[in-house]
């Protein structure tokens, strides 16, 4: 085995050193002279208008430079399309400081700019603000009559398709269940709060550091909204302190920082506070109705799945929620419906595995209820209804090893020792429950470009304008580049997060590893061809007659496959050449295969909970997550992706909830103390299994992306485990101790 075969190896993160030493600089951690600080003030009401916004006291504070409000913001781009971004949804995007109208609680209404952060924050308390308040409506359950069909128009959104006659089959079937499931709104809350620095450079150009999942998206937005040319704005985002979707659309602090920098002709930094992290997009609250029916042997007869999701008054946010119910199991009669309800909230935004965590949670709980009604083991029920092909699209899967996930996961978990009876597996006063769920996610690839530069000292620098939000992009791309050209990994550097680099798609949807990876591979292969050409020209070259197919790049050499002794050192070639080799190339998904196959990752999740019978406390003591995600490019970072996703699933099941007070239309627990996410003590044993899954159709890497699949089934598995422990079916998330203590 060669030492430069890095793909598939547990390489430690190449950005690890920078991160453990504090050298990695995130969006608002750059130092420039004469920097100003902006502090944002948010609306106290959810709907109405600002009638007074008196800034005079604030401006009296020495060191306060300006206060921007809707009254003194210069006229900017006029049309909605200038405010649209790559992750926009149908509707009219929110424009900060545009008018006196208030459309959601905590809408930003002013930016105080001062010489220090403390001065700006203090001066923000001196604004005199009066509102005319109108009654707002933020209650999803009460607003269902106003629901409307979700429109097309968002990238990646597919309207659900029904098939067969679900209602008829339901009424004829011998075993059936019907249930309604709810989960609350959630906010992404990455550790790093959203922040932007607009550095004002000579000649009025801007260098913008932004917390984003797409530097090109930020650049485009700034350019369009402020009427600048592409050359006037460069966006950098080398390190991102988590995002989980919140960085897919430009957030309002970016607008604020750029506005102030351009107006004041000085560099400005604006960071949101943790409280303000609850003032923009979130995972929408949703209410779902499921009806399942089966023959007495467990064969599914019908699936009906309806979802009502919230959206804002000004945009229709859509995600794929119910379609999964037509995909995950074999069933002839499926009726799917997805409706939106407009409320006085900010537009929701994609949050880790958007749609799938919602829909599959409900489907998997319903499957558990059906298993109980049938008196069949829940895992058996799933195996009996295994879908060999994608019935939504009527296409075969490019690969699907879900069965292996079920079997290997169950084996590791010890599922066969499960006693079917609820409340049957106690340990003292702890009720032990075992639950499971299946999951799926799309495996997509997007068009992406990359650049490679090989210099005479043998150093390879590969770059693409993508992001690493903790996903391991830096590391995986370095591995792919090094392996493709057979260079030691220490000689290879990967650069990202810079709008001057070749354009990459938004970092999200689990497509980064394969999209950017394919581009990096293609680009490095072109470098390889150039090297081979040069090698052939060398005097007495052992590769003189070799074609591209006849050689491999390994251990710093181009080697003849037939005769490994015939090899030329890459360093020698490039040294003799004395000139850089530079290649820019792109990779696209294979369009024909895209039409013929369905691309999905899958997983099976098994969870153990312990519920204190007296206190109602719920602990997730064990999770086994078995993943079928194609080829694993780096088992170390891949495992971490799944571990983190399982933590997110536990959080969704038991903790996370943005609680809105409908009297005020406001999220009340808007801080880290009251918005609960797991801490170390909440997380016990998590085991990750990657089942073998070969896929030579999906892309040249055979990989599927792992950012989302790990979270999808977790909440369902835990909810089912809570039922098994307590005998109580809690049909809402998060499940908390008062639910298990009080509900029937």
């Amino acid at each position: 085995m060669s030492s430069t075969n890095y793909v598939g190896k547990p390489v430690s993160r190449v950005d690890g050193y920078a991160k453990v030493t504090g050298q990695a600089r995130y969006a608002v951690e750059h130092h420039v002279p004469n920097l100003l600080y902006g502090f944002i003030v948010n609306s106290a009401i959810a709907k109405g208008s600002v009638t007074t916004l008196d800034t005079s006291e604030a401006l009296k504070v020495p060191g306060v430079v300006q206060v921007f409000t809707h009254k003194n913001t210069p006229s900017l781009a006029w049309f909605d399309r200038s405010y649209k971004d790559q992750d926009s949804v149908p509707g009219s995007p929110f424009r900060p400081l545009h008018s006196e109208k208030i459309r959601f609680s905590m809408q930003p209404i002013a930016l105080v700019v001062a010489e220090t952060f403390e001065l700006a924050r203090y001066a923000s308390t001196l604004l005199k603000i009066e509102y005319k308040e109108e009654s707002s409506s933020t209650n999803l359950s009460e607003s269902l009559p106003q629901a409307h069909e979700a429109p097309k128009g968002k990238e990646g959104y597919m309207p659900p398709k029904s098939r067969g006659h679900a209602k008829k089959a339901f009424s004829a079937a011998p075993v059936k269940i019907q249930a309604e499931y709810i989960h609350g709104a959630e906010h992404h809350n990455p550790m790093e709060m959203h922040g932007s620095m607009a550095i004002y450079e000579k000649g009025g150009k801007l260098l913008v550091y932004d917390k984003t999942q797409g530097v090109a998206n930020t650049q485009e937005y700034v350019k369009k909204v402020f009427g600048l040319s592409k050359d006037d704005v460069r966006v950098l985002s080398p390190y991102v302190g988590g995002a989980f979707g919140s960085g897919l659309r430009p957030q309002y602090q970016l607008f604020m920082a750029v506005l102030a920098a351009l107006e004041l002709k000085q560099s400005v930094k604006v960071s949101l506070t943790r409280q303000q992290m609850f003032s923009f997009g979130h995972r929408p609250k949703s209410l779902q109705r499921l009806a399942l029916s089966a023959a007495s042997d467990g064969t599914l007869q019908s699936i009906e799945h309806t979802c009502y999701s919230e959206t804002s008054r000004f945009e229709d946010y859509t995600e794929v929620v119910v379609n999964w119910s037509g995909l995950l199991y074999q069933c002839a009669n499926v009726e799917l419906d997805y409706q939106l309800v407009k409320l006085d909230v900010y537009t929701p935004i994609d949050m880790r595995a958007p749609g799938a965590v919602t829909g599959i949670y409900a489907l998997e709980c319903a499957m558990d209820e059906l298993a109980v009604a049938l008196n069949i083991d829940p895992l058996d029920l799933r195996l009996r209804n295994y879908a060999p092909e994608d019935q939504n699209e009527k296409k075969p899967f490019s690969s699907k090893e879900l069965r292996a996930c079920y079997l290997q996961g169950a084996e590791k978990f010890g599922w066969n020792k499960r006693n079917k009876e609820p409340r049957s597996m106690r340990e003292g006063n702890q009720l032990v429950g075992w639950g499971m769920a299946s999951a799926s996610w799309d495996a997509q690839q997007q068009k992406c470009a990359a650049k490679a530069l090989l210099t005479p000292d043998g150093k390879l620098t590969v770059s693409s304008g993508t992001a690493d939000i903790g996903t391991g992009t830096y590391t995986i791309m370095t591995q792919i580049a090094a392996e493709t050209l057979g260079l030691p990994i220490e000689q290879v550097e990967f650069k990202l997060g810079d709008s001057s680099l070749p354009e990459a798609p938004l970092e999200g949807g689990s497509w980064t590893a394969v999209s950017v990876g394919s581009a990096v591979k293609a680009t490095c292969e072109e470098v390889g061809q150039k090297l081979l050409k040069l090698a052939k020209k060398k005097k007495d070259s052992p590769l003189a007659n070799a074609g591209a197919e006849d050689v491999v790049f390994e251990n710093g050499y181009i080697i003849l496959k037939k005769d490994p002794a015939a090899a030329v050192s890459i360093l020698d070639i490039i040294r003799d050449e004395r000139e850089d080799i530079e290649v820019e190339s792109a990779a696209m998904p294979g369009m024909i295969d895209k039409l013929k196959y369905s691309f999905h990752s899958h997983s099976a999740v098994f969870a153990e909970v312990k519920v204190d019978e007296d206190l109602g406390t719920i602990h997730v003591t064990r999770v086994v997550s078995a993943i079928a995600g194609g080829r694993v490019l780096n088992p170390k970072t891949a495992r971490s992706q799944i571990l983190g996703a399982v933590v997110w699933g536990i959080s969704m099941a038991l903790q996370e909830d943005s609680v809105i007070d409908h009297n005020f239309g406001r999220f009340m627990n808007h801080n880290y103390a009251e918005y609960h996410v797991p801490v170390n003590a909440d997380i016990q044993n998590i085991e990750v299994i990657f089942v073998e899954e070969e896929d030579d159709i999906i892309n040249p890497l055979g990989a599927k992306g792992l950012g989302e699949i790990g979270i999808v089934g977790v909440a369902g598995a835990i909810a089912n485990a809570v039922y098994h422990a307590t005998g109580k079916r809690i049909r809402k998330l998060p499940i908390q101790l008062d639910n298990v203590l009080s509900e029937p």
């Binding site: 430690s12 690890g16 050193y17 991160k19 453990v20 030493t21 504090g22 050298q23 990695a24 995130y26 951690e29 106290a44 006291e57 604030a58 220090t116 403390e118 203090y122 001066a123 308390t125 001196l126 005199k128 603000i129 009066e130 509102y131 005319k132 308040e133 109108e134 009654s135 990455p190 550790m191 790093e192 709060m193 390190y239 991102v240 302190g241 988590g242 989980f244 943790r274 939000i469 903790g470 391991g472 170390k636 970072t637 495992r639 971490s640 992706q641 571990l643 983190g644 996703a645 933590v647 801080n671 880290y672 103390a673 996410v677 797991p678 801490v679 170390n680 003590a681 997380i683 998590i686």
Partner: protein
């Protein structure tokens, strides 16, 4: 229905407290600054001196991202004012490595992939240094409990415990 809401009674701008001389000893180096008393230790590090390794995740003592060591004890730098730490020995993430040689915890965090985005990491590592010094963590469960002041939104918890355990050898 509509009604008028007045958010704030008319507050008048108050005279500001004058900057005070503050002597911060950070990672063995002396920093003499003039700071207004309202500057937190966290902002002093990040905004006034340039030690951005210490992170701000909430500014309210709720996340642990800002954990530093003051006279060897782990504290939240957002919950203390810089002027209160005059003359004390402050260690931040930038002060843990010995030249190019990583502190054993730093190396263990890389080896065990105990982070993803890395934003909580300086706080986790400083907190773990403090934890080991306290000598209270005897078991894996103790580590989990005593590291619970440091949120990791990426969910690297099990790897964080592995990393710490690899340094303590299971017992502290």
């Amino acid at each position: 229905m509509s009604n008028t809401v007045q958010e704030k009674t008319t507050l008048a701008a108050q005279p500001l407290a004058e900057p005070l001389p503050v002597h911060l000893r950070i990672n063995g180096e002396d920093h003499r600054l003039q700071l207004r008393p309202w500057v937190s230790l966290l902002d002093a590090l990040r905004e006034y001196i340039g030690y951005t390794g210490t992170k701000k995740g909430c500014d309210h003592g709720q996340c642990g991202a800002c954990t530093v060591l003051v006279d060897g004890v782990r504290i939240n730098a957002c919950m203390t004012l810089a002027v209160m730490r005059d003359g004390q020995e402050i260690t931040t993430i930038e002060g843990l490595a010995n030249g190019d040689k990583l502190h054993p915890l730093q190396a263990a965090f890389v080896e065990h992939d105990a982070f993803q985005c890395g934003y909580c990491t300086p706080g986790q590592i400083c907190s773990a240094v403090g934890l080991i010094k306290e000598g209270r963590a005897k078991t894996r469960d103790d580590i989990r409990e005593l590291m619970s002041g440091n949120i990791c939104r990426c969910g690297a918890y099990t790897n964080i415990v592995d990393a710490i355990e690899s340094v303590t050898g299971g017992t502290i």
